[in-house]
Subunit: 69 residues, 6 copies
Amino acid sequence: MKLSARNVLKGEVKKLTPGMVNTEVVVELAGGAEIVAIITKQSAEGLALAEGKEIHAVIKASNVMIATD
Amino acid sequence: MKLSARNVLKGEVKKLTPGMVNTEVVVELAGGAEIVAIITKQSAEGLALAEGKEIHAVIKASNVMIATD
Amino acid sequence: MKLSARNVLKGEVKKLTPGMVNTEVVVELAGGAEIVAIITKQSAEGLALAEGKEIHAVIKASNVMIATD
Amino acid sequence: MKLSARNVLKGEVKKLTPGMVNTEVVVELAGGAEIVAIITKQSAEGLALAEGKEIHAVIKASNVMIATD
Amino acid sequence: MKLSARNVLKGEVKKLTPGMVNTEVVVELAGGAEIVAIITKQSAEGLALAEGKEIHAVIKASNVMIATD
Amino acid sequence: MKLSARNVLKGEVKKLTPGMVNTEVVVELAGGAEIVAIITKQSAEGLALAEGKEIHAVIKASNVMIATD
């Protein structure tokens, strides 16, 4: 599947925090930075996410903001 | 200002494509990866964005998805 | 690629309206309903979207609202 | 109330999973497909959602992505 | 129509800036503050938006962030 | 930090409802209206949110919809 989302960042799962509906996924990116995702618990289970698993963080460009110091 | 958004990634502006309402901002992250943002043209002007300028890409965690191969 | 987004709806491209930054994509779903997407112009070109092409509309569950009459 | 959101899909509630803050709503669309929404628990209660209730799934066009095989 | 979106703020249209795909809508809220929306051009036309028209700004709770000084 | 998000509304925290992953924040705006945010529990703790604390609600313009009566 090829996706219109412009941002696909390679990383691995560092930590999973499941709730009743959503799961928080902390991802360590290839470059060393961290990115956090909130996805449904069922998605996390469907993807068989586990610490150390190689994944991609995917973000639609319209959801990215810019900040300056 | 301190923000609830969990994802703040350091980078610099690589390319700006202004439209009539929105501007596309291509950001080169510190680790070498690229990330693309769509913000309003007025925001891009208000932040005085220009190629080479150091900025941060900011993303709310609920807008990050996870993909596996 | 397997994605955490829970909503993947099969359809075909009915109409494309390109702007300078974004492109509007009208999709006719398998069931007959229509769904509209705004993606970047570069994504639309990268996916080689054209009228009649079979595609999927993809939506993160946290971006779906519910309305009652 | 008439809304700017371009996507309003008719369906009925198939399953509700309440958490402490959010509720997951699985909707069966008129055409047979399923769509999942995450809304606040208080919204789900305010709309008196229950299995079998006729509702609409509402999605802003800028939150729809496109994928190809 | 009753909507799950928790945030419905009363205001009036102060300024419209149409592009080719999207339209920027500046809204003056009842309390005096301003809020800016980007909606599709076709939505703006479908709602017959014009300066001075009374409208509501609608925001899903998962799209609101919090900042402290 | 200066942010591209066009909407920054002054208010104070009226109520906090923590879940396992997310926290619901009810904000009373300066003009008297209320706005609700869903942020991660860790963000709410990192910002030391508490009832009565002065904060800003921040919203990207592409996440604002318009409704008419």
